[in-house]
């Protein structure tokens, strides 16, 4: 990055971007690109789509930057915009943004004991690659809520508003997502233990 980029603050970059300075846009992009792209990638599990979505999120942000008054943090504004862009894409593709069922299913009521893994507990650090793979395996509806809450840090009331469900539904979906991830991760560990 040039010296301009290294010496400018985010607030200054925002003001200069409002004036149409390319370097300022680039500063803002590089400051937030990882967060935006990672969010898109987690939600759609597809690098090419994630790039398109990240591009669209930044474009929407930059188009509206003249309206930013600083009432909330810039990153929060961008974050929400990114989520909306992704959710719109999921809806366009006809993918469920969040599942509709609100109650636990019968087979989810008891902790699982299969895989012969009575002693195989998830302890210590979870391998990040395995966790990513497990998230990719989640059904889209579960993945949305899990990524928004546990990865990105949104609260249930925010998620409910964004995806159009109840707070209870959001909590329920998150719980089911975590249960599924727990199963996937235990299975992966068991498989790894077998192959050594």
């Amino acid at each position: 990055m040039t010296d301009l980029k290294q010496s400018i603050t985010e607030a200054e970059a925002i003001e200069q971007a409002k004036q149409g300075h390319e370097a300022a846009f680039e500063v803002l992009y590089h400051l937030h690109k990882r967060r935006v792209y990672s969010l898109c990638l987690r939600m759609v599990s597809n690098p090419v789509q994630a790039e398109d979505l990240a591009q669209e999120a930044f474009l929407q942000l930059f188009r509206k930057i003249s309206t930013f008054r600083g009432e909330s943090a810039f990153s929060t504004w961008l974050h929400r915009m990114t989520v909306n862009v992704v959710l719109m894409q999921l809806r366009k593709k006809g993918l469920p943004v969040v599942s509709l069922e609100e109650t636990l299913e019968a087979d989810d009521e008891a902790p699982r004991k299969e895989f012969g893994t009575k002693d195989l507990k998830l302890t210590g650090a979870i391998d990040r690659l395995q966790l990513q793979r497990a998230i990719d395996k989640l059904p889209p509806g579960y993945r949305t809520v899990f990524v928004l809450h546990d990865v990105e840090g949104f609260e249930h009331n925010e998620i409910a508003q964004m995806v159009g469900c109840s707070i209870g539904n959001s909590k329920s979906q998150l719980h089911k997502a975590r249960l599924k991830l727990r199963d996937y991760l235990k299975f992966m560990r068991a498989e790894k233990a077998k192959t050594g």
Partner: protein, 255 residues
């Protein structure tokens, strides 16, 4: 409280305040039941580890290139296009490719020019003519095989192309010399870069460039005569986008 009860209320309790203030009977059961204890701790572990995944992935450099091109096209970048101080390099595994840094902003500038032309002060709506002002025959419905009166206003290059693609390139080149105006400075620079970096593609690019430029001129002339025709304006914008696409394909190839 039973294990089933714990699982039922867990969605509500698991994400409570960090000090984890749970109801007494819930806490008592979890402390004494290994299965539920494991469940709670494992779900908390997953939740905490997930946070590590935020902001770990890096998008490819092309994402910024595309964003910048679009911003210029939309006029959101309002600085003058000075001689670029830094190349737009898209890193490759070998790092041995050329960079044609100026093509991206030129492609974007084309889009911006098109957007300006299309969105520029709209003339008052005029009574829409039933036929174009160019000399044509009556607009009777015709079969696709019959000669179209629209060909009357096509450039000789376009007629040559329509007559048969295989010979079009050679014919087009000859016709272009006789009829088509010379290329602009940006087009000259573009063709010069293609000649240097992908000489075998020069003829193809040149012919396509001549054709899209002819389309732009033709459409612009129509819009000038019929300023109220929104569809024609959109076609003019489309023609600029075609030229930007041509530049973009070249950029992807010769860099």
């Amino acid at each position: 409280m039973t294990c089933s009860d714990v699982e039922r209320v867990l969605p509500e309790f698991l994400d409570r305040a960090p000090d984890g203030a749970f109801p007494t009977d819930f806490e008592t059961h979890v402390k004494t039941c290994p299965a539920c204890s494991n469940l709670v701790s494992e779900l908390k572990l997953i939740a905490s580890e997930a946070r590590q995944l935020a902001a770990t992935e890096e998008p490819a450099p092309r994402v910024w290139v595309r964003i910048a091109a679009e911003l210029r096209a939309e006029g959101l970048i309002r600085e003058p296009q000075s001689t670029p101080a830094r190349p737009i390099l898209i890193p490759t595994s070998s790092g041995r490719r050329w960079s044609a840094w100026w093509l991206a902003p030129v492609a974007a500038a084309l889009l911006a020019a098109g957007a300006y032309m299309v969105g520029h002060e709209r003339a008052p709506q005029v009574a829409k003519q039933q036929a174009p002002t160019t000399p044509v025959t009556s607009p009777a419905v015709d079969t696709l095989g019959a000669t179209s009166h629209s060909e009357d206003i096509q450039s000789p290059l376009q007629q040559a192309k329509k007559s048969g693609k295989p010979g079009a390139s050679a014919v087009g080149t000859t016709v272009a010399t006789a009829v088509e105006p010379g290329p602009s400075a940006e087009d000259q620079q573009f063709l010069s870069a293609v000649s240097t970096l992908a000489p075998s593609m020069r003829v193809s690019y040149e012919n396509e460039l001549q054709a899209v430029n002819a389309d732009i001129r033709e459409t612009q002339a129509y819009v000038n005569r019929n300023p109220g025709d929104e569809d024609a304006r959109q076609h003019l914008m489309d023609a600029y986008q075609q030229k930007a696409l041509l530049y973009q394909i070249a950029l992807d190839r010769i860099q």
